[in-house]
Amino acid sequence: MIQSKRWSSCFPAKFFPYIFLIFIFSTFLLSVQTIWAQTPPLIPQNNFTKYWVDSEELVAENSPGEKAFDGDPLTHWHTQWLNASPPHPHSLQIDLGAVYSIGGIRYKPRDPSGGANGRIGQYELYVAADSGTPPTIPPIFGQWTLVASGSFPNTATEQEVLFNTVSSRYIWLRALSEAQNKNRPWTTVGEFNVLGTLVTEQVVISPSSAEVSPGGQQQFTGSGGTPPYAFIILDDTSGGASIDFNTGLYTAGPNAGTSTIRMADSTVPELSAQATVTVTEPSSGTFSPIPQNNFTKYWVDSEELVAENSPGEKAFDGDPLTHWHTQWLNASPPHPHSLQIDLGAVYSIGGIRYKPRDPSGGANGRIGQYELYVAADSGTPPTIPPVFGQWTLVASGSFPNTATEQEVLFNTVSSRYIWLRALSEAQNKNRPWTTVGEFNVLGTSVGGGGSNLGISPSMVTLAIGAQQTFEGMNGTPPYVYSLVGDTSGGATVNSSTGLYTAGPIAGTSTVRVTDAGSHTADANITVTAEATFLNKGGWTVHFVNSQTSGNPATAAFDGNPATSWRTTGTVSPPHDLQINLGNVFEIEGFQLSPLTPYGAEGISFYEFYVSKDGVNWGMPVASGDFANDTSLKTRTFPRITGQFVRIIARGAFHGRRSINLAELDVIGAPFTGNHDPDGSITAPTGNLTINAGGSVSFAGTYSDPNGDPPGSFLWNFGDPAIPDATVKDPGQITFNNPGTYTVTFTVSDSLGRQDPFPAKVVIKVLDGPNTVLPRGEWRIHYVNSEEVIQHNDAAVNVLDGNSSTLWHSQWNNVEGPHDIQINLGSVYSLDALRYLPRPSGQNGRIKRFHIYVSEDGHNWGQPVAIGDFVNSSAEQRVQFSPKAGQFVRVAALSEVNNKQWASMAELNLEGRCRNPSVKIHDPLTKDVQSGPNLKVAASVCLTHPLHAGWGVKVAIDGGGQQQTILMPADGIIRADTFLWTFSGIVGDNHEVEAFIVDQSGNAVPGSTTYDKVTHVGIGGVYGALGDSITVGIGDDDPTDGTSQDGRNTNTETGFIPLLNDLLTAKQGFPHNIYNEGVQGETSAGLLIRAPGFLKKRPKAKVFLILVGTNDASSGLVPSGAGSDPPAAGTYKDNLQKVIDLIRDPSMGREVYLAKVPFSLSPAKDDDIQGYNQAIEELVASNGIPLIPPDFYSHFQSHQSELIDNVSHPNGAGFRSMSTLWCVAITSGVCDGP
């Protein structure tokens, strides 16, 4: 009744016209929506990064989340399955790299040749609600917006989901179930694409975060908005980072720290993006923990000694099971908590390691925020309780809430005392305690006191009459201070306190400290005049980006506040004015006068720089905002030496393009210290490009404003193989190694002052012109399909130099993608591929391709090139970044007319052999070969005549057997040049090493001149051919999915890992069983695929065949039993032909048959029994020396070991199968696993 009332009162008849209007409007909405539903374009995957994934399989296969957007549908993201199989839901979150207007996705399931496991069924799609803030990890639903959900069908076909467009940078694919509906816990994604368009009113800096070493570089790039972009450093704690304003090339400062980069749109500077750089010190490899046995607790603020015995000493007792715990029983004093340690001697300290308390006792007291100090004066024990002025902060931060040991590195500092100060608890529960399981200090001994005597500060610039206290350090107190040099007109120093007072005129002083051991150390002081407004008489414009004729840049320093520098109205900020002050000054501020009367063109956001040379500007010495008024704007900063100043106006008030600056004054004093010397390179006169082996003549000049003579010269040529030179003119230098090298020339004056901006020149060394490689030694490594029955279209035709012969995939029944792999015989640095399509006809001409280069022919990594060939008979060349390898693979993903074939007339490659290298490509680690001979093959790069007389030595088991093969005298490395055969190797696991050796047989050092493979087995190698039963479908016991030696692992587990274990245990040597089962396989299918299997597994000497279940399921395949020879196409006939293929007399292979398992479906039973009769006849007629394992009888009497009527066994069934196979193969008893 209430509902009726509501309806009737809300929609009375008189509202009918409005309702009609709503109807019309809704129809309009639908039409609008239809327009919006146009499929948006694909967003480029190359900017995608994995933001978060809940599970990945990285052990059994390399299938991380990134494989879902690597552009290669043959690879995939797979959730973990080997060591664990976490259940649904599964999540993959992707950072698209920029904000896009997203309207849909495309989901391509995994390549079906690998099965259907993990195909997504139910799914949800979310985008991050706030694009400006990266979402929390792990995800919080409130930060995400659901944009689509549904179910994908159980198909390998790419699926598309469209939804209403939404702007975001982050997308989340959440898989709730598997499409196969088998309750399997996995998720796989072959390819995941996002449909959308870039939101252009955003600019994005890439990468948004980076980590570099001190002095390291990082290239930043921008996207969105309107290029070019301007790059500046907003903040830096690395001690002087810089970034190229135009190119975005960032160079870190010399210390650990962070930098914040800001990138602005050139036309709309308000459009900006920021990135952070973490500058990390090198690892603690140079430091080791200082022995704790000399540590003593110097001071601790709180300890629990009643409820538990946990004094501060427990933090350095070497036992992580004990800990220091602040008081908690009778009182719980709040944070901060402190532990100060006397290390027993002065050390050069570079870091600490903090091990939280043993987690079995809980997490209370784990340190969150922390500070680390060292005593500033090692000679005098610090005051207790501590006085901050006696300590120097060396590091601070937050430890995560984990039991894992944490390491903190910082700039090395000498001290005997260290202070750990805990400011909070990591659990974030406001608990007042601190605990430490173990605390180690990383450092090196500095020897006895005195020899490392120092003085702090060692160099300082002071104003006239200013004071500075100097302190001796690392010596033996007491310290005595004295003045050993002064030109400031009467400086003084207190001999006991070190208090220095500068004289009344500009000059220099030297203060010396002497310790009890008569060691000395000096500090240099530059005394400069008091800062004033600098005289602007000698100033000139060094650069200005924009000015007007009536308001030139010079008006900014003409001393007349009524005139001004004004930029044109057609150029948007940033505006850049650089001024040469005419001389070097100590600069400590500036003052800016807006135009009066005030216009609307004031500078809103500025940066101010000082430079010595007008080229290298470094980071701003001041930056920020100006008030929007006519007041004088004065900014000061610590003194810095320079001759050039620069002001950049990043923006003008009210969004104006022009800025107006009436007067700029600089605050400073004349420079009275030692000027920097200057070195320049006179030869070569500019950057050069040469070929490897070429020489360049180098020469330089030296100058010094003080007239000081040169002290030293240092040339660094960039290539580590070329030693530095220490003369002014080093002359001819030869560059043998291709690459791009920055040559630097650094000069110092006789006082040790170094040119802060060494001269540089770039030498680019090329390999030489591109070379089309000779193909004489090339071989087909693998091809998935070739037509050799109806026409001679074998893969080898692409190497025969005859453009009229082709490789063509099988004409019938083999769908793409197609795959052809070439073994080049030796290693080359490859950089281009040439594809010659078939000259006539279009069938099989490749469209979408992926090109791969591999060192070993097994691990292919990412494609070196992805693209589309055009539908033409002309040769097409694909250039890619050089990559070294001996194997090349072309994956043909589509055909120009979308047909199922691939074809190729010729394939050529461009590249060259470069650095000496060796890579064992056969065997690989964990491979097994049939004994007793062990065959080794390696990819080798040696260049003739440079490496004449060199070769490769291979050693087995550390040198038990070793052989060396030299490079042929003609310098041509052929496919069979570097093949070794070692005889008499016992059935066991072995280690194989390969060394490049020189003419004397000595191993050549280097990262590429040695290779090793381990766990190389000599034993039994089998291939298992069959259907889904061989694949392992139905196995519900995941615990036995990997053989104990790790060689055989199986997604579906099955009988193969178990059989490996049984055979290895029974026969006492390693085994490897290749699983070549194919779901749905029939006897006819096996006959078609057998040649490919045999080619793919050349090491397999015994093939186990189990097929027939699917023949029987079809009800269409006669057994052929009872007839000899059997009729064509029958089960018996198909198997006989497979037997003939395997038993090729030249290959030494054997075949074992197994009886088709019993089926729970009676409709198939007659056929299965017929097939098993045929098997018995085949065993007899072919003399197969193995009684077939009788899976029919077994499962007939153990029906509980079957899960369905397709004869799929369960875990117990597969265990039985492994035992039955083992018993049959060994003719003995095999203990069940």
């Binding site: 009332k5 309702i19 809704s26 598309e160 006819a1084 409709a1163």
Partner: protein, 174 residues
Amino acid sequence: MGPEIKAGSRENVMGLKFLFVLCLTLGLQFGGLLTISGYGQGVGDGLSQQEAGQVVENVVMPYFLALQKGDVRSVEQLIGGNLSMTLGRLLNENPEYANFLRERYEKMQLMDSPSVLRRKAMDGFSKIDEVQGRGNIILNLQQSDGKPLFLQLSAETDGDGQWKIVDQKIGADQ
């Protein structure tokens, strides 16, 4: 207790009618909008009655009849994919295969009427796009001894958009 409303009030009836029309309209509009544009996948569209009829009459029925008659040429024309691979040599090189098929299928009786088969085809087959489609259909058969038998046929369209039988499974259960 809410206010009492007379159920037969003309105003109420009209309001309910208009509300029904409105809701139906909006439901169709936005329901369709969400299904097609918001959450639709653009795949898996079922066959129309006409298309299903064509598949049954041109492929499914002829295929079963060819099995019964041992008409290997017709079977060859009606199959594709893996089934062509499985049966290729049987159909082309084995002169006894026609007899084999006849003996096995001749006495089996198709229990589904054409209309039932059309309905099954509408449910079991789908189109991926204008030329690609796939699906399954299960035929109810009766053996000569009266026992039921099921024949599951899988079909796909070939490159020319023609439906082909690509797999067959037989069983006494489903």
